[in-house]
Symmetry: C3
Subunit: 269 residues, 3 copies
């Protein structure tokens, strides 16, 4: 699929029309934000994490979002049950390995979830590097987190897992292990609002629900969210008003907004 | 009690003066929203869900709100303990059976809570229909969710349980099993903000705390919240700013706001 | 350390420069607010509460914030593990004993945490009085919560525990058991937003991370937060917009803002 402002816009229109049901097992900090981001985008969020029902619930959902931000043992069990069922019934899912490298427990959990074959993974540079060290073993990935090292790690993780991998930062990179797309939208003030990384993962989930190609879906989620962040930053007086304006911008985004602001390019390997 | 702008306003004044303590056992998505809605209204919210203390806590509260949005086994136990104690000591309580029909687990939990005799139940059409199928058994309620079918279901649920039942949507209906009141306030943009249904349930809880007639209390909660939503929608640029403005409007609502905007009518059976 | 607008400003600059990692084990109502307050201030928040990782996580954090708002047994265990490790490795920590007096369970938990030697404790008058009754036993503290009684209780609690104690209200008091500082910033509308007390505790945590003297750190957190609340209240139309503007004000606060608004004075014993 060719990815440009027209095709991304048409994916956004599809989300708004179909209002896909996006099942989230996410952290307590961002449950509200993620649900609101999905609603503002036009999707239907559900936050469901009991082991007693996640398998049933994911079966009739259109995508699954798993985020380990405030992980605890019972929720991890729910994540595993939901991810396995999602694979079994063909519901696409995305993993957000929040803080994957912070503790050995968190590393182990993130690694176990990666093995359950997410269709997409979104993390920052440190998180993606942590997953590669786990998956690849022994490969000397630059711990300085230089962007070249991170990009190599993302490509390697995609190759090893079959997932599309997104590394987000000042510029976001998305790769399927072969081609790499860069998205240069967004605004630095977004780093001063909690959970916007988690929210963009949820937004990518909504695009995975309507687009079979996870590369296109991931690019669409990052681009739409980044453009909304830019619009919001122009209206904001600080991080509080940024968060409010970002939800407004997701809801009101027009084809012109996307076309005029989109900064997308293929990266030469 | 005659329900009109004057009597509803006087209930709002009572909430603001008494600042009733409203005990919430609610879902993680909306804990913050519900607490803020209650504070903006003038009530005193408490979010307390440990089995180790819910019975003690509900005993000195003025109302109890139970919401099963992100249910899990331990919280359900807490809900049951709190609801039973509430009945025993005469604290009114309201049930919000979020997503009651989504999974068999959720249906079973909602049904079990209905049997603990809430004074009021608030849900959308699907949720109320699910409860009626559980409670009534075998009755062929229209699964198309036509408003006539939903209204019949609400009336039946009220008759079978003794609870006042509110079905919310573009128009809200409240019934005690005999009379039906319709409230046509609110704004469509409210459906793009997460947890406003949960928040209005909490707000009804605050009115239950100061008004013995659960029908009047439920109508008051829906009317005040709907009017606040309308005021907010006029100022909002999207769902983010709507949520902010709604809290402002709950806090600043005047008698004139309520009188000029209230759309209340009795429905002929 | 002399506490005036210059020294407090220099502490804020230090927080912004060092971006200390503040580990929070806090309640579900305010996780998002507290994280956003810390980000707006310039710190790096982490919300981590699994018993499987809190000890690891606190070891490389710069401060720990423990808040019992929505306590439950497993989280209490996590709080104890984290607090003990914090003491062992020299990470400063602050306790927010939310609702300490509400139930016997909550009193017992708050008391157990106080014995784990927090560097600072922040509560409202009732909470501090509850802790003193627990710690001191038998002393006839005025249950009318007169400000003199509360101030005596705070001083006594500080003496008995070695913690700096802050009692917040219309005027905030901070004491190390000997000297008492009063901060008269803030705005009454702040009481109509949920979790601002919890947020200021988190903000004090950020100052504890960069300032060895817990008295100065606590005063700085209360002063900066109070001044931000005042700025926000001037722009707000109600509690919804106050919360948004408060985050903006924390982020944009200038030396002049602090110098012109600070209301700090030593209280004569």
């Amino acid at each position: 699929m060719a990815m440009n402002a027209d095709t991304l816009w048409s994916l956004l229109v599809t989300v708004r029309e179909r209002q896909p049901l996006v099942h989230n097992i996410t952290n307590f900090v961002v449950m509200n934000n993620s649900a609101n981001a999905l609603l503002a985008l036009g999707a239907s969020p559900a936050m469901v994490h009991s082991c007693d029902e996640v398998e049933d619930f994911v079966s009739f959902s259109h995508a699954l979002v798993i985020n380990i931000g405030t992980l605890y043992s019972e929720q991890i069990a729910a994540c595993k049950l939901a991810a396995m069922r999602a694979r079994a019934v063909g519901v696409p899912w995305i993993l957000d390995p929040v803080g994957a490298g912070a503790t050995s427990y968190r590393r182990a959990v993130a690694n176990a979830l990666v093995r359950l074959q997410p269709n997409a993974i979104r993390g920052n540079g440190s998180e993606i590097l942590t997953l590669v060290r786990q998956a690849g073993g022994g490969r000397g990935v630059d711990s300085q987190h230089g962007s070249k090292a991170v990009l190599d790690a993302a490509r390697l993780l995609a190759q090893e897992t079959g997932a599309v991998v997104a590394v987000t930062g000042a510029v976001d990179y998305v790769t399927d292990g072969a081609q790499v797309t860069a998205i240069a939208n967004g605004h630095p003030l977004m780093t001063r609002v909690t959970g916007l990384g988690c929210s963009v993962t949820a937004v990518i989930g909504a695009f995975l629900a309507v687009e079979l190609d996870p590369l296109a879906a991931t690019v669409a989620g990052l681009a739409v969210f980044g453009v909304a962040g830019e619009i919001a930053a122009e209206q904001a007086r600080g991080p509080g008003s940024l968060q409010v304006a970002l939800l407004d911008a997701l809801h009101t985004m027009t084809q012109d907004d996307l076309a005029q602001r989109l900064k997308l390019e293929k990266v030469n390997p």
